[in-house]
Assembly symmetry: C2
Homo-oligomer: 157 residues x 2
């Protein structure tokens, strides 16, 4: 009986240790998650310059229904296209954050919700998911690749 | 005149050095690019088991017009849906390959071309882009996140 209790306790301790390990975020992961949400803040405020400055000079946005936009000019045009949508509301939530052991590359991934005004005063709602690949340069996380797509069925299907 | 020639030569040397630098791939990058294309091979052969085995147990496919598929069961259902498309032809080409300094995380990104049979014997062509985030476990590159979207305008637009 004592051996059994001990075995149970050992298992419980391992389970507890594992759950601590998976739920605890490193300081680096928190910083990257903050960068992800800081980018959202300037995007939601429709600050074009600050939104583009989050992206590396050789970084790309891979938006649906458009070719790859690489570099600040192309990314700026793409983001300006978003900001031109009437009554745009954008929100994204990182659900997974992972950083390479070397700390030079990281990924945030999660879901987004978006709404904007369509023709005739209707509101068009969209939701989907994204992956953002970040690189750390000079101690700052910058976007190297950003890609997203909708969960919803393609229009007309 | 001599100074001008020298300046020209210097610029030419810098350009040559840059082009060598960008074209040279490390052995690790080549291995990751090979993993990317090995995955394509089993996908193009419509080998469901091998296609799913490339993905980590907690890995996800983030396909357009569908929720995130996480884990082998969900990923298997998604991939089986692709393989059910008549006369499927799939090709993707990694144009950018990057590995963290620690060698535990890497990314391939590029373009895809896809064709399948639609109603009435027509062929539906699609092209787009993708980002795949890989993790190295036990010396083998496995897919953690795979996401893609079409360059083409949404249907009905």
């Amino acid at each position: 009986m004592k051996i059994r209790s001990f075995a149970f306790l050992a298992v419980a301790m391992v389970v507890a240790a594992l759950s601590i390990n998976t739920s605890a975020q490193t300081a680096d992961e928190k910083a990257l998650q903050k960068a992800d949400q800081d980018w959202l803040k300037v995007f939601a405020a429709e600050d074009l310059k600050k939104s583009v400055d989050f992206v590396l000079a050789d970084g790309s946005m891979l938006a649906p229904n458009a070719p790859i936009a690489t570099g600040h000019d192309a990314v700026g045009k793409l983001v300006a296209g978003f900001f031109a949508l009437p009554s745009l509301k954008m929100k994204w939530t990182p659900e997974r954050t992972q950083i390479a052991k070397s700390g030079d590359m990281g990924v945030t991934s999660g879901t987004y919700e978006m709404a904007f005004g369509g023709p005739g005063g209707i509101t068009i709602n969209d939701k989907g998911k994204y992956v953002t690949v970040w690189k750390k340069t000079g101690g700052v996380w910058k976007v190297w690749l950003d890609i997203f797509n909708s969960d919803l069925a393609a229009f007309g299907n």
